[in-house]
């Protein structure tokens, strides 16, 4: 695969929350508004890009037996960096995301990419992979967050957009609403894939 393919596969083919159905904990927990989803997504992208880069650079030095431990140390270091920087410069977002920032350490997308991709590929391909998957994750969270925000509080990017008599569907802001929205998005994506497959003549 070319570098471009490594980058773009994260947007559809292996789109993390929908295709791989990985990293669902932050996906369901913090997507009450589009902005929150995007903040979480960007924090995860930062960690993913740098952990991929460092794992890839160090892949020849890390003995196979201790690779998971080494990956976790690398990932955890970048998570702490994100946490400190966010607290110092984006305090309101830091307050909202709360415990889910440190929990990026255990996000299986990141360890999954380190183990399945970065430890076997060069640094440039790993950077492209991390950036692609990370941005795909960010977009997924932003879309899911925007849908929940639109239905749950009648706003989009915190600007009211619904008609005046619109009754906010508060259920969408609750955790069960996250599952419903995720399920509907998954169904929509599967439908698009099926239509595409039929058009292309591939069954």
């Amino acid at each position: 695969m070319s570098i471009k393919d490594e980058f773009t596969k994260g947007f559809w083919e292996v789109l993390p929350p929908f295709r791989l159905v990985l990293g669902l904990c932050p996906v369901l927990a913090v997507t009450t508004t589009g902005i929150n989803g995007m903040g979480m997504g960007l924090a995860t992208t930062f960690v993913l890009v740098f952990s991929n880069l460092f794992v890839s650079l160090l892949r020849r030095f890390i003995p196979n037996q201790v690779r998971i431990a080494s990956f976790i140390v690398i990932i955890a270091s970048f998570v702490v960096i994100v946490e400190l920087v966010m607290q110092a410069y984006f305090y309101p977002l830091f307050k909202i995301l709360g415990i889910f920032i440190p929990l990026i350490v255990v996000n299986c997308i990141i360890l999954g990419r380190a183990e399945a991709f970065a430890s076997k590929n060069g640094p440039i391909a790993s950077l492209a992979d991390g950036l692609g998957i990370g941005l795909g994750f960010t977009i997924s969270l932003f879309v899911l967050g925007s849908i929940r925000e639109l239905l749950g509080s009648g706003t989009l990017l915190e600007i009211p957009v619904m008609w005046s008599s619109f009754e906010p569907f508060a259920f969408m802001l609750k955790p069960p609403g996250a599952f419903v929205a995720l399920g509907l998005l998954l169904a929509l994506m599967n439908l698009i894939t099926q239509v595409q497959a039929r058009k292309g003549g591939v069954s």
């Binding site: 160090l58 003995p63 037996q65 201790v66 080494s70 270091s77 110092a88 410069y89 309101p92």
Partner: protein
């Protein structure tokens, strides 16, 4: 044996590099984090209790040492001064008092001539709807204009006696600081 040595070396090196990088970033973000915490948690209360200043009380904050804890480390108190034409005419500072459920933090504004300007609750974990009423203006307004002397008394909110007493204790603690450290504060 060589494998084990290599494992130990690699893990140690990665851990050491990570620790060094993190300590550098921790030092670099320490001051902005402190500022942000104060800005988002204390600033609303400071703005409420002080009026008529032309400086930034958050930026001009100063720390004074008010004693030592049991391990001999200094206990610091943050003072937010309100200045006009460069002269401090009032300060805001936080006192703590024991409420019904844990400590209640109260930001207290005291003018230089020894009057209470206003108070604002910064943190509490009182029962919502019952003890939490002490944060409402109808209660906090009762402190306005009182003399900043030890033993301030206010009628408690019925049904929220412990919470009210917690707030009063916090206000008295802040007043105590002002009176004991007047020179350092003003």
């Amino acid at each position: 044996m060589r494998d084990i040595l290599k494992m130990i070396t690699v893990l140690t090196l990665i851990g050491a590099a990570s620790g060094m990088a993190l300590s550098i970033i921790y030092e670099a973000t320490k001051a902005p984090i402190e500022y942000q915490t104060i800005k988002f948690i204390k600033e609303p209360a400071v703005k409420k209790v002080l009026t008529g200043y032309d400086n930034d009380p958050i930026l001009d904050r100063k720390k004074i040492t008010i004693g030592e804890d049991e391990r001999g480390r200094p206990i610091e108190l943050i003072i937010f001064p309100a200045k006009k034409a460069g002269k401090t005419f009032a300060v805001a500072l936080e006192g703590k008092g024991k409420g019904f459920a844990g400590l209640i933090g109260v930001m207290v504004g005291v003018s230089k001539d020894g009057k209470l300007l206003d108070i604002g609750i910064t943190s509490h974990s009182e029962t919502p709807g019952i003890g939490s009423r002490v944060a409402e203006a109808s209660f906090t307004e009762k402190f306005k204009g009182l003399k900043a002397e030890a033993g301030v008394k206010i009628d408690s909110i019925s049904g929220a006696t412990y919470s009210s007493k917690g707030v009063i204790a916090a206000v008295n603690q802040a007043i105590g600081y002002v009176n004991n450290f007047k020179k350092e504060i003003f």
